[in-house]
Each structure stands twice: as structure tokens, then as C-alpha cells.
Amino acid sequence: MIAAFAFYLFAGVMMTSGLLTIVARNPVHSVLWLILAFFNAAGLMVLTGAEFIAMLLVIVYVGAVAVLFLFVVMMLDIDFSAMRAGFIRNAPLGVLLALVLFGELFLGIVVHSAGNLALGHAASASVTPATVSNTAAIGALLYTRYLFEFEAAGMILLVAMIGAIMLTHRERGDKRGQNAAHQIARRPQDATVNVQPEVGKGVSL
């Protein structure tokens, strides 16, 4: 009972916030609605017992991706009203695409439930025992059997970092770096001066 209630709550809020993400006028509001949708999707994942994916959704999507979106939306000068201009004109195409995607999903589910798909069976080593929570199971696989791939993925991230810096970083002549020793060595008497100006004369610096 409570599970059904939670499901309809999470699903309802997620659908609503998903809809509001695309119809909100203010792009910042769109991102905030998106974050709400992610949170509710995480709730749905918890309900199905996939708590690891739920945590991933919150940490990766809410924590990193959505905040990144927010940064992009706030920092880039994008004219969103101009982007919306063709909405009515392109709407039939969008509806068509949505119908195609829906048809594919529908067909996929029908074929799968008809049982005519000769899918392979996972090797016994990669089947999770029922007694182990899926976070523990993923961790056990990731840090033993797939340790090499995990470390290699770390090298890929290193490449991404080096590459991004190499392609965008430029030495500029006019930059003024911080010199901490210089700042600490500076005394008040070097920087300030006491004057008593005559009334009406002002100060010449």
C-alpha cells in the first residue's frame, strides 16, 4: 500500500516536473525542475531495489550534471526566446519522433514479453547472490574483476583533463598572479598616509 502510494507520488511528481522542465519560460527554472525530476527518479530507483543507481542519480546527475547545466545557463548569453521561436513549426516533427520512439519501446516490450528473443544467459560469475546488496555486489566486481578497466578509465579521465587544458590554456602577458610573500611583507605605513586637509581644499594624491 505504502509502496504503491510512494510510487504514484514519485512518478507523478517526476512527470510533472519533467513537463515543467520543457515548458518553463525561465531557463533557470527549467534546470531546477530538472533537478526535482532527478530526485524523484532516484526515489523510483529505491522503490525497485536499485539503491546504487538511486545514489548515482543523486550524486552524478543532481550533484554534477544539473549544477553544470545551471552554470552554463547562467554564464552563456543565450536568447531562449529566439530558440523557442520555431516551436509550433517544428512541433509535428517532434510529435512524429516521439511516436516513433514510443512505437519502438512498445514493440521492444511486446517482443521481450512474448519470449521470442533468444537472449544469452549471464555467466554464473557475474550473477549477484540474493543475499548481497547491489552496491556491495557492484563494488566487489568493480574493485576485483574489473579493476584493470576501472584504472584504465581513470587514465581516460586524465587524458580528458590534459587535453582540455592543452587546447584551451593560453599564457597571457597581462595576468597578475598572487604573490603571498609580497602581500604579507606589506606594512600599513607603506600603504596608508594620514593627512589633515584644510576645509574646502580636498586632498591631492
Binding site: 544469452g120 544467459h121 557475474s126 574489473y146 579493476l147 584504465a152 581516460i156 590534459i162 587535453g163 592543452m166
Partner: protein, 485 residues
């Protein structure tokens, strides 16, 4: 398997990773002034990696490491040595080139080393996940390297094109991998082979095989997935193009061989026609596309498409002899590409600007006889004209195809190689019989000259002294590929 065995098995990966991290710190503190020293250190690292790899060439007993995700056999060792050669040549020639065009970036050598790390993982991969991780490590570094000449718009264009199309190909490959996993229940090559069996293939698994091959065909720039090659080869800085034409090509071809012959080895009929189609189309497109080109880097790009076609004929044979022929061809092709791009690097006018137009090379034989002779040797060798070493690779490949009863394929291939010979000979004609334009000036660093001389000697008829040795190594490597776990 105890931890020391594992650590020893992946010693090359450890060496390169640690070296990259140390050199990264050197680059962070030393800045671009340390670039040349870092390049030299990177070459030393590659030499160290090669020293660690050579003992594997004769084939170890227990080649599986890390739960069978890596297979460090003679085949991986052979492909890795080719990769190290290509990368080392790039690192040797890059500092002089970049210092002339602008500034040599300290990170350049690091990215080359990281790409080499990825390529080493690719050729040793025995699991779809390892394959993908290695491929992405290599590709991501390659995208950055392609656009590393920041002052040049063509370089940025090349990097962007390579990135967009490469990501698309990675997506297709990943889609194929997921379908294969879905229909076999495993990502290990041995498991995939066992699950697919040798009977009729289900429709879903066929789709998986086709998508995996299509994704890999992009990486080896086989037609009809070759469109990016001429633009990327032309736009990328010449030392990077030299890298693209050698190391990643060798790695991707070795990967394709391992996937087709080990992973999908029980289902040769399912992929053989795809490989035959890609082989013939690559040979024809590579030959016809090159005819109208005046830019020598574009010409070499079409030449590489053409050569990939010939190598795929060896793969289509699906026999140990075919695989061995492919490896010999690959080794000769790597040397040819190294020599060709060293000549391209030497083509500069009196202001130090690079000359890429073939028509500007008229009468080079009179102004720069040694350079012209080297280019002529490369062109004759690429065309497969008998006294030169390039003929040997083509001969072995066709021999393997004929003994695998692919006579028609071999016949069409030989006929198409005649078309290819036309544009190679056209370059030689410009070099030797056109009126001198006297545009090529300047001298090359000693290192470039030594490497060029060495590779031209290998391509010359003297190269036939290597056939027995090279054939034995390739035979061992190919046998390792066909050995079932």
C-alpha cells in the same frame, strides 16, 4: 593467480602510466621549455616498454592476465612493437616540427604516451570492456593530438571532425558490444566464441557482429567508413599524421583481427562477406580517390585506405597464414608510412613553410636527389613493384587468399592494385621527369635523416633479408591468435 604474477604481466602498462604521471609533474613545473626533454624521456619510456615486450614475442605459456581480460601473447607483443616504432618516430620528429611552426607543447609527448598505453590495451584486449576502454583511451588522446596545432584552422577542423565521427563510431561499436553481450551473456572473447557456437547465428547476434565490425572499420579507416581520413590526415600536424598512419592503424587492425578471429572465430561465415566487401571497396576507393589529389598528405591518406583494403584480404582468408600475411604486411606498411611522412616533413620552402603540394615537387631529383630517391623507393614499395619490400606483403596476402579459395577476391585485388600503381608512379614521374621548380629548401635534423635512411633501407631490396625473421615472428603471433584458451 597471485598478485606478483599479475603485476609482472602488466609491467608495460605500469611503466607507461607511472612515466606519464612523473612527466606530467615535470611538464607542470618545467612548462613548455621542458618539452624537448620530455619528448626524449618519452622515447626512452617507449624503448623500455619495447624491452619488456620483446621476450613475449616467442610466446609465453600462460598469457592470460587479470581474469582473462588481457591476453599478453605473441600477437599482442608483435602489434605493440609496431605501435612503439610508430610512436617513437613521431616523438623524435615532433620537437623540430613544432618549434618551427610555433611552440612545442610539453603535454604533446604525454598524450602520445597515453595513446600508446591505450593502443597497448587494445591489442591485448581479450574482453569487450577492455577493448572499449583501450580504444577510448587511444581515441581521446588522438582527438586532442589532431587539433594540437592551435594556430592552424585546419588542425582544429581535423580535430573536430575526428572527434565527432570518432564518437559516432564508438557509439556504433558500443551498440554492437551491448547486442553481443545481450545475446551471448558474456563480454569475454572466449565466452562469446563459445556462446555463438558454429551453427546458425540468431538475428540479434548477427546485428551485434555487424555493428562491432562497422565500428572497428571506422577506426582502421576502411571504406565505406573512410570519409574522415583525408581531412584528418591533411589537417593534423604532420608528425601527428605520421602517428595516425602508423600506430593507431596497427592497433585497430590488430584489434579487428583479435575480435574477428578469436571472439567471432566460430562464425567466420557471418563476417567474412563484410570483410571482403570492405576490402574491395577500400582498395578501389583508395586507388580512385588518390588520383585527383595534389596534396601529398591527402594522397597518403588515400594510400592508407588502399593498403587497409589489402590487409583485409588477409583477414578475409580467416586462416593462420592469412593472419601472418596481414601482420607482415602491417609491419612493412608501418615502415613505409614512417618513411613517407619523414619525406613530407622534409618538404619545406626557403621560408621554412611546409610544402604539401605534389606539383611543387617537380624535378626534386635534380635539386635534392637523396630525398627524391627516398620518396621514389616509398612510392614503388607502396605500389608493390617487385624488387622492393612492399611487394612481399602483397604477395603473402594474395597467396593466403588463394589458398583459402578466395581466388576471385585475390584477382580483383590484384587488378585494383594496378589502378593504385598509377598514382604512385605519377608522383615518381613528377619527381624525376618534370621541370625543376626548385622550391624545396633547407636541411633536416640528423635524427630525421637517420630514421629515413633506415626505413628506406628496409623498404629497398635489402629488406628481403628480413623475410625469414619477420615471417617467423608473424607466424608465431598468428598462431597465438588461433590458439584457444
Amino acid at each position: 593467480m597471485d598478485i606478483f604474477h599479475t603485476l609482472r604481466a602488466i609491467a608495460v602498462e605500469e611503466l607507461i602510466s607511472v612515466a606519464v604521471l612523473v612527466l606530467l609533474l615535470v611538464a607542470a613545473w618545467g612548462g613548455d621549455k621542458a618539452a624537448r626533454a620530455i619528448a626524449i624521456a618519452a622515447v626512452a619510456v617507449l624503448v623500455g616498454a619495447a624491452v619488456l615486450t620483446v621476450p613475449l614475442l616467442t610466446g609465453g605459456a600462460d598469457s592470460l592476465a587479470l581474469f582473462g581480460h588481457l591476453k599478453l601473447d605473441a600477437f599482442a607483443a608483435f602489434a605493440r612493437l609496431l605501435i612503439y616504432v610508430g610512436a617513437a618516430v613521431t616523438l623524435v620528429v615532433a620537437p623540430a616540427w613544432f618549434e618551427r611552426e610555433g611552440e612545442m607543447r610539453a603535454e604533446f609527448s604525454l598524450l602520445v604516451l597515453l595513446a600508446v598505453l591505450g593502443m597497448g590495451i587494445m591489442v591485448a584486449a581479450n574482453d569487450m570492456l577492455t577493448l572499449y576502454v583501450g580504444l577510448e583511451l587511444n581515441s581521446l588522446a588522438a582527438y586532442v593530438l589532431a587539433s594540437s596545432a592551435r594556430g592552424d584552422g585546419r588542425s582544429a577542423e581535423a580535430g573536430l571532425k575526428y572527434f565527432v565521427l570518432g564518437s559516432l563510431a564508438s557509439g556504433i561499436l558500443l551498440y554492437g558490444i551491448s547486442l553481443t553481450y545481450g545475446f551471448t551473456g558474456t563480454t569475454a572473447f572466449d565466452g562469446v566464441r563459445a556462446a555463438l557456437g558454429s551453427g546458425s547465428l540468431s538475428l540479434g547476434a548477427t546485428f551485434g557482429v555487424v555493428f562491432v565490425l562497422a565500428g572497428l572499420a571506422f577506426k582502421i579507416s576502411a571504406a565505406p567508413f573512410h570519409m574522415w581520413t583525408p581531412d584528418v590526415y591533411e589537417g593534423a600536424p604532420t608528425p601527428v599524421t605520421a602517428l595516425f598512419a602508423t600506430a593507431p592503424k596497427a592497433a585497430a587492425l590488430a584489434l579487428l583481427m583479435r575480435v574477428s578471429l578469436a571472439g567471432f572465430g566460430g562464425q567466420v561465415a557471418a563476417w567474412q562477406q563484410i570483410v571482403v566487401f570492405a576490402a574491395l571497396l577500400s582498395i578501389v576507393i583508395g586507388a580512385l580517390g588518390a588520383i585527383g589529389q595534389d596534396n601529398i598528405k591527402r594522397l597518403l591518406a588515400y594510400s592508407s585506405i588502399n593498403n587497409v583494403g589489402f590487409m583485409l584480404i588477409g583477414l578475409a582468408a580467416a586462416t593462420p597464414a592469412g593472419a601472418a600475411a596481414m601482420l607482415v604486411y602491417l609491419a612493412i606498411y608501418v615502415v613505409s608510412s614512417v618513411a613517407a611522412f619523414l619525406v613530407v616533413l622534409a618538404l619545406r620552402d626557403d621560408h621554412g613553410r611546409a610544402i604539401e603540394s605534389i606539383s611543387a615537387l617537380g624535378g626534386l631529383s635534380r635539386t635534392r636527389p637523396a630525398l627524391a630517391a627516398a620518396l621514389a623507393v616509398v612510392m614503388f614499395s607502396l605500389a608493390g613493384i617487385p624488387p622492393l619490400f612492399g611487394f612481399w606483403g602483397k604477395f603473402l596476402v594474395f597467396q593466403a587468399a588463394v589458398s583459402a579459395h578466395l581466388v576471385v577476391l585475390a584477382a580483383i585485388g590484384i587488378a585494383a592494385s594496378v589502378i593504385g600503381a598509377f598514382y604512385y608512379l605519377k608522383v615518381v614521374k613528377v619527381l624525376y621527369f618534370d621541370a625543376p621548380t626548385d622550391q624545396v629548401q633547407g636541411t633536416e635534423p640528423v635524427a630525421n635523416r637517420v630514421v629515413l635512411l633506415a626505413s628506406a633501407l628496409v623498404l629497398s631490396p635489402l629488406g628481403y633479408l628480413l623475410t625469414r625473421w619477420l615471417g617467423a615472428l608473424a607466424g608465431t603471433a598468428a598462431a597465438a591468435l588461433f590458439r584457444l584458451a
